[in-house]
């Protein structure tokens, strides 16, 4: 997107694909004002009644919505029926705390616990708790029946975060979209939006106020009070998207993608083992990136747990290649007991392979699990955030020692092919110094480091252009070196899942891309178009 054309354009993360053009409505999901507390007995009674009323409201919502929405709300109903969850609230009320304050305190403690988990899935559940808290507080403050929200049909609703039950109270029958300043693509509300076909973009940071909005769930952009030109471009993207959907499904089923007679390998990125359940995953040529740090679920997993997870993915892939990235913790992915605390600049700190090499006790467990899994499939292992060749060699040495030690104990193990992520500019520029079997370009971090732009900072969205000539130059050099030296080079950042970047990536000489499973059909179609002379869309 051009910065001059986009006066008020924001970029977030895609949670649900689709397009919405409508009124921009700010929505405050918070609870209402104060209430006067009664006696101990009245407070306990008020709370008991509020729990019953909330249960009934949620059950009604679930009944009306059905299907997946009902299952999602079941968790809230179960909490309201959970004595162990409610007892501490009654205990606080007995101590003289008002019903609303008591309930907030207990829920907030639970939310803090969920939010402290490094697991995005568990963090996303904290919005279900906020939803439940706000509903009970509304009832306690006399807001009784759940009001039907006065949001015009087809509006782009903007909120900090939106709980699932509030989503269900909005009338989406006339379309519309959801723009969240925080939120998560794995939240329950994102699942609901996808199921309803409502476009949704999350993690927009902060946005200004406006009366009209364009929400593009594909490009993850929000444009406010757009110019006539912006609207024209938006409507064209929407039309292209509509036409593409049907033909993309057909193209996905073709065995391979090719461009100018050369085969293009399309692999998928996975975050969790469950990502393999995506309907399109089966059409991938393999797994280009498995983010192993998802295993760091609050605790450091032991060798057996890790082995089981890696083995499950290799079994799914059968003979297709699987590239597992060793723990990429640190930066914006802290893990307690592993990553350092109090770094002034964690993105330039002890993260990725740097961190693993500083903790050989933890790293060796992962390498042993990988060495055992390597026996069962086409495994490749890559190291993230590598600056110097000696880091790769140090990791290789640890890996070889792990294999030797396992074999000495009679355990089947082997050293897989080893490669590196190319995301530190210095590594991209001195690529020939690395004795790696393959390279995988991590374009998100590479662009962030080359452009000196924090990619989570919405204020820098217009500068954060992955197609900047400097970024493209480093990608092209890496691809060219791979071609000359006979080493595979792939790209696994968000660029690979963005149709607008595909022509540039193919021109750079890349022939292997790793994308999110949900983008596989569209990228395969984009390549097909380019191959038959189209402009890529």
């Amino acid at each position: 997107m051009q910065a001059d054309a986009a006066r008020l354009a924001y970029r977030g993360r895609t949670a649900s694909i689709g397009f919405a053009h409508g009124h921009f409505v700010r929505f405050n999901a918070g609870a209402s004002g104060k209430r006067a507390a009664g006696s101990l007995r009245e407070e306990a009674e008020a709370f008991r009644n509020a729990v019953h009323a909330a249960s009934r409201q949620i059950a009604d919502l679930a009944g009306a919505a059905g299907g997946e929405a009902a299952q999602i709300l079941e968790f809230q109903v179960a909490l309201l029926e959970d004595e162990e969850f409610l007892d501490p609230v009654f205990a606080l009320i007995d101590d003289g705390v008002a019903a609303d304050a008591a309930f907030s305190r207990i829920i907030d403690e639970q939310m803090a616990d969920y939010n402290s988990a490094p697991d995005e899935y568990l963090q996303a559940r904290s919005s279900d708790l906020a939803d439940l808290r706000d509903r009970v507080l509304r009832i306690l403050s006399g807001g009784g029946e759940s009001r039907s929200l006065s949001i015009p049909q087809g509006a782009v609703v903007c909120a900090d975060d939106l709980p699932p039950s509030r989503f269900l109270e909005i009338d989406w029958s006339g379309g519309g979209g959801l723009a969240l300043l925080r939120g998560s693509p794995t939240s329950h509300v994102a699942m609901l939006a996808r199921a309803r076909g409502i476009p949704m973009v999350v993690q927009l940071g902060s946005v200004s106020n406006a009366s009209v909005a364009l929400l593009d769930g594909e490009g993850a952009t929000l444009e406010l009070d757009p110019s006539v030109e912006q609207i024209g471009l938006f409507e064209r993207r929407r039309e292209v998207h509509r036409k593409n959907r049907a033909s993309a499904r057909a193209i996905l089923r073709r065995p391979t993608a090719s461009w100018r007679g050369e085969r293009i390998r399309l692999l998928i990125n996975i975050q969790r083992v469950e990502d393999l359940e995506h309907a399109d995953a089966q059409y991938a040529d393999g797994i280009g990136l498995m983010r192993s740090e998802f295993l760091l679920d609050g605790t450091l997993p032991d060798e057996e747990t890790q082995y089981q997870a890696y083995d499950a993915v290799l079994r799914w892939a059968d003979q297709r290649p699987v590239t597992i990235r060793t723990f990429d913790a640190g930066g914006d992915k802290p893990v307690s007991g592993f990553t350092p605390e109090g770094e002034a600049n964690p993105f330039l700190g002890l993260r990725g392979l740097r961190l693993c090499l500083s903790r050989p006790d933890i790293f060796t467990i992962q390498l042993r699990a990988l060495a055992r899994a390597a026996v069962h499939g086409n495994l490749k292992v890559m190291f993230p955030m590598v600056t110097e060749p000696r880091e790769l060699e140090a990791a290789r040495k640890l890996f070889a020692e792990a294999v030797r030690s396992l074999q000495a104990d009679g355990v089947a193990a082997m050293l897989p092919e080893l490669g590196i992520m190319v995301e530190v500019p210095a590594a991209a520029m001195a690529i020939a110094d690395f004795k790696a079997a393959f390279f995988s370009i991590g374009s998100n971090d590479l662009a962030q480091y080359v452009l000196a732009c924090d990619r989570s900072n919405g204020a820098l969205a217009s500068l954060m252009d992955p197609l900047h000539p400097a970024v493209i130059e480093l990608i092209a050099r890496t691809a060219e070196y791979g071609r000359r030296s006979g080493r595979a080079v792939s790209l696994c950042g968000d660029m690979a899942s963005d149709p607008r970047c595909i022509p540039a990536l193919l021109d750079c000489g890349l022939r292997e891309l790793s994308v999110n499973a949900s983008a596989l059909a569209q990228i395969k179609q984009t390549i097909d178009r380019l191959s038959s002379g189209g402009s890529g869309g």
């Binding site: 299952q71 999602i72 079941e74 968790f75 179960a78 909490l79 029926e81 959970d82 004595e83 162990e84 969850f85 639970q110 616990d113 988990a117 697991d119 899935y121 568990l122 559940r125 279900d128 329950h188 969790r272 083992v273 469950e274 359940e277 295993l295 679920d297 609050g298 605790t299 997993p301 057996e304 747990t305 089981q308 997870a309």
Partner: protein, 106 residues
């Protein structure tokens, strides 16, 4: 409910134990936790679970506690029950987890 009473068996019937691996892809999260607690509540027995070797046993009928347990994919879940229908309770819960929380039984 006091989980310690499970340690001292023969209070009211015999204690039964079971062990099962959590194969659910995302671990013990919202939907599995709701299913597990719903099933546990169908039994009169006191039922406690924990991730193998964890310090604390938690009440299998509390969805909040089961979620907070944060059992990860691949972990081993220990189940123990005490009461008149303890044996059936352990068997049913082991089946539920082993079958990866099937979409039935309502």
């Amino acid at each position: 409910m006091d989980m310690d009473m499970l340690e001292t068996s023969k209070v009211n019937g015999e204690a039964f134990t079971g062990m099962v691996q959590l194969i659910h892809a995302v671990g013990m999260h919202a939907r599995p936790a709701v299913k597990l607690t719903k099933l546990a509540k169908r039994f009169q027995s006191h039922i406690a679970i924990r991730v193998e070797g964890a310090a604390d046993w938690i009440n299998a009928k509390s969805v909040a506690k089961v979620m907070a347990m944060r059992a990860a994919h691949g972990s081993m879940i220990e189940i123990k029950a005490l009461g008149a229908d303890a044996e059936a309770a352990v068997a049913a819960l082991v089946d539920l987890v082993a079958a990866d929380f099937p979409e039935t039984g309502h």
